[in-house]
């Protein structure tokens, strides 16, 4: 029978190679739509398979774990794959127009290379979420980095190249330190498979070294606060669909790997102090990112800085699931809330951020520049885009009825349950500052324009793509029952059963 796990990786790769081999204009649309369709189908098959028969595992090239590479799909990884699939396909729909011939925003070269790069990126994202081999994760991370940097350079502008270079160097540094960690782990455990390493008892200093290197490398690739320097220019200078892909999806991949290592390999919850450090860095990110976003004058930079802020929320999972030095879990009864809250935040942030970047793309296309001041009276000229930006803003702010609200609700419940009330303060201040810069943006949209300037027409499909994403980020907040059950299949966060 068709093994959906494999096809989740194969479908995008097939699409990529076809797109690379047949760069002609006539072929581009069918290949793109075909690839997106196939990938979505395989993602759907994988989800139903995992939903019905629990976590899956497949040994590649026939060899069992220690020698061969295993693909494992449990609730959390399927959740991330579904997120990537949904957001990716909608960004793809936007890109279909953005990189098509009717838009004059892109040259022919860009249009030819976008699809191969994006589909390989998509395939390797799925590969990361499925792989349970730390070296394989390294290679997949490298593929993602190169594809992402190549996508940034597509737009060809000078500052995009500089941003891409900075991102490449940072990511290269991160990968190398991750590889050093892998080497150390292999040296201590003699195996590369997550499950095998997890079963072996924890070694001493080498494991510490490995953890320090791998965690910092991945945090650098996830742009945690002090190491976020590369994200704002990279995400704001790239083209709209590319920055949406980067902010919504690529950043989450390295966070996913960090989570896998934290719970699986390094028994993270035992390291209470490290958990608190990561949580503090996350809170600093929330406040710093929001403050920076408040001070930006251009829309895409504002949204990029908001990404830096929102990533801070993700890192709150570490202190919440940590075990106090006295051994018992900090948030004894609330672990499910903490984990599901953070993963839900990842999902709703992906949807909302993608919607905002696509909206910013429409604004850039219609107004010619994304300076906030010349977005005057946008609510009259581009009602749907303003609506999409507003709803996405609502989800980012965590106001009901949105996905962001559900995530914020869960994280705050866990924080209060764990007695670590200071995270609640941070979330409160963060939420308000987010509201600050969202309404800073909306403020200009509502001011009636003084001189009616002549604008390029904005055709409907791209606005609808942004709107669809924004609506999804709100609708996701209405029904959490099923996603919760999906998330806990295969016990991805193995701290539940601990005493």
């Amino acid at each position: 029978m068709i093994e959906p796990m494999a096809w989740c990786i194969l479908a995008p790769f097939i699409g990529a190679s076809l797109a690379f081999l047949l760069p002609g204009r006539v072929w581009r649309r069918p290949i793109a739509i075909g690839a997106i369709g196939a990938t979505l189908a395989s993602v759907w098959m994988l989800t139903s398979q995992v939903w019905n028969s629990g976590a899956q595992r497949m040994d590649l090239s026939g060899w069992p774990a220690p020698l061969g590479i295993g693909l494992a799909a449990d609730g959390f990884s399927v959740f991330m794959i579904v997120m990537t699939g949904v957001v990716g396909s909608l960004i793809g729909a936007y890109a279909l127009w953005h990189y098509s011939d009717l838009s004059d925003a892109t040259e022919p070269a860009e249009r030819r290379l976008f699809w191969p790069l994006w589909l390989i990126l998509w395939g390797s994202l799925n590969a990361i979420y499925l792989s349970s081999d730390i070296f394989n994760i390294y290679v997949a991370l490298e593929v993602i980095t190169l594809a992402a940097v190549a996508l940034i350079t597509l737009s060809g502008k000078a500052e995009a190249l500089v941003a891409a270079m900075r991102y490449l160097l940072a990511a290269f540094l991160g990968s190398l330190s991750y590889l050093m960690g892998v080497a150390l782990l292999y040296a201590t455990h003699g195996a590369l498979d997550l499950v095998i390493i997890a079963d072996q008892e924890r070694a001493g200093l080498p494991e510490v070294g490995a953890f320090a290197l791998m965690a910092t490398g991945l945090a650098l690739k996830t742009a945690l606060f002090p190491m976020h320097f590369w994200l704002p220019p990279a995400h704001s200078k790239a083209a709209a669909p590319v920055s949406a892909i980067l902010s919504a999806l690529v950043v989450k991949a390295s966070f996913y790997v960090l989570l896998r290592l934290w719970f699986g390999v390094f028994d993270g919850p035992a390291m209470y102090a490290v958990g608190i450090l990561l949580g503090t860095l996350g809170s600093a990110a929330i406040i710093w990112g929001a403050f920076q976003a408040l001070r930006q004058m251009s829309l895409k930079l504002l949204i990029a800085h908001s990404t830096v802020a929102q990533i801070g929320y993700l890192f709150l999972i570490f202190p919440l699931t940590a075990r106090r030095p006295s051994g018992e879990l900090a948030a004894a009864g609330w672990i499910t809330e903490a984990c599901t809250g953070v993963s839900y935040h990842a999902l709703s942030h992906a949807l909302a951020k993608a919607a905002m970047f696509l909206g910013a793309g429409v604004v850039l296309h219609v107004y010619g520049s994304d300076l906030l001041t010349n977005m005057r009276g946008m609510s009259r000229r581009l009602p749907i885009t303003t609506f999409a930006l507003a709803i996405a803003g609502v989800s980012l702010m965590g106001l009901p009825p949105s996905g962001g609200f559900a995530a914020k609700w869960l994280i705050v419940t866990a924080a209060l349950g764990a007695g670590q009330w200071w995270w609640v303060l941070v979330i409160l201040i963060g939420g308000l500052l987010t509201a600050g810069y969202i309404f800073l943006m909306l403020r200009w949209a509502f001011i009636s324009e003084d001189a009616p300037i002549q604008l390029r027409p904005a055709n409907m499909p791209i606005q609808l793509a942004a709107l669809a994403l924004a609506l999804l980020s709100v609708l996701v907040g209405f029904r959490l029952e099923e996603p919760f059950q999906l998330l806990v299949i295969g016990d991805p966060f193995p701290i539940f059963d601990l005493p």
Partner: protein
Amino acid sequence: MNHLLTLAILLPAIGSLAVFSRFIGARASGVVCAVAAAPALLLGLFASTMEHDVAWMLLGATFGVDPVSRIFLIFTGALWMACGLYSASTMRSDPRRSAYFFFFLLSMTGNFGLLLARDVGAFYCFFALMTFAAYGLVVHERGAGPRRAGRVYIVMSILGELLLLAGLIFAVAAGAGIDMADFASGVAAAPNQELITALLFFGLGVKAGAIPVHVWLPLAHPVAPTPASAVLSGAMIKAGLFGWIVMLPLGWSPAPAIAPLVVTLGLLGAFGAAIYGALQRDPKTILAYSSVSQMSVMVVAIGAGLMAPDRWPLILGALAIYACSHGFAKGALFLGVAVAKQAAGRDMLRRMTMMGLALAALTIAGAPPLGGAIAKKSLKAAAAGPESPSGDALALLIPLTAIMTTVVLGKFILVMAGAMRTNEGKSAVRLSPWMAAPWLTLTLGAAAAAWLIAPPTEPMTDAPQPTIPSLSAGDALAALWPIALGVLVLAITMRLARSLPKAPAAPAGDLLSLYTLASRATVAAGRRTRLPGPARWKLDFVPLVLDSIEQSRRGETLTNIERAMKTWPVAGAVFVMIVITLAAMIIL
């Protein structure tokens, strides 16, 4: 009979709405004014005690008539009818007559409503309606005087209403029932009876013109058009009295401690107002002060009733009669002033009006053959009876008030005579029979009232019941000497006044100057002390916070740090630092 009851209230109400919506012309509204009072008068004359429950209205309203309110209905109805008739004719030339008729009818609704109301809610509702509508009458003639009078009137009456509301709230909270029947007993039984009685007394006192809170009366009555001031002085003041009778715990065992205070206030008012009235020059102000003094006499009666609960039915009967006769007389006098103005030209008419005025004045003063004497006698007998606590003191003081009344009214007659002779206030409108008739009826009514109307008897209580009025020779004599003495005193003072240099005219509202000074001082003090905290502090601190964030936008510190972090060496160093700290955290 029920329809008459509803008609008594609804007719004036619908009339006022019709006038407001210009549904009927000016002439028709005049007729409506005259007719509107009829049902109430008929009710007064013929209705027997009855009760009509209107459950859905306000707090569960009930309307009805009982012996006391019958008497009030009679003279109030008569007064409203007369004044309505009178104003229908005189007001025809007035440019803003529809406004006048509107407020006239609205006040009439209020007045009849509160007389017929048998529950506290309805009473208070119509009381407020009458108060606010009367404002329209007071300020009818535009100009500085009426504006000031209006402002004082509205401020005082609002304070009065608030005190009344507080009293009612405390009473109902303390268990007194909504409807009148068991309201007074509830108040009597209430623990904070003192507070409630005081609140009710002063709340209604504002309307009734009791001493400390009467200052609006001498200001408002003169400036209002004459028929309006006639009604104001005759009927509306009595509403306050009616309120007292119905609400205060009169006739219930524990006598409230403030009873002596009420009596002293009454006496003070009776003498003070009379003296102050004598010093005035404007006839209507003099009449206003005479009303204040007469009302103070009634306050004395109320005080006595509070002090001697068991004698209350006796006092009640006398009080009703006294109020009735005073109502008629005061209405007649006020109309008389206007009639005198109109009749200034022809001496035959002049003589007739002077005669009428004298007759009305004598009724109030209590001259023997007229109704006033009976009223005064019964009042003296009831209030100052042998076994009442301060009976003997009262026995002496009440005749004294009679003297003072004669002095004031004498001064009024003299001033009117003077005015008639010099005919300086001659009004353009010719005296038509339509104007003279109401005045005449009122004067006769004043004289005959005491005789005709049987005092209300309390069927239930076994306390001594008021007897049918009879005037023996001894009584007549007892009534005459105070009048004589009063005339003597007046003559002496007039001669003295001619020799002394012109005494400066005492300002109309005597205590008012005190109050305005006090209020202005508090407001100034309030402003000077710069009300601490919220009032001064604009309290919208949020925009300040916002602006500070806004300014920080221009502040360079944040952007410098961000740019510094972007440089490669710093970023690299940060990376290494974090690796080291993570490792150190685990090892240590």
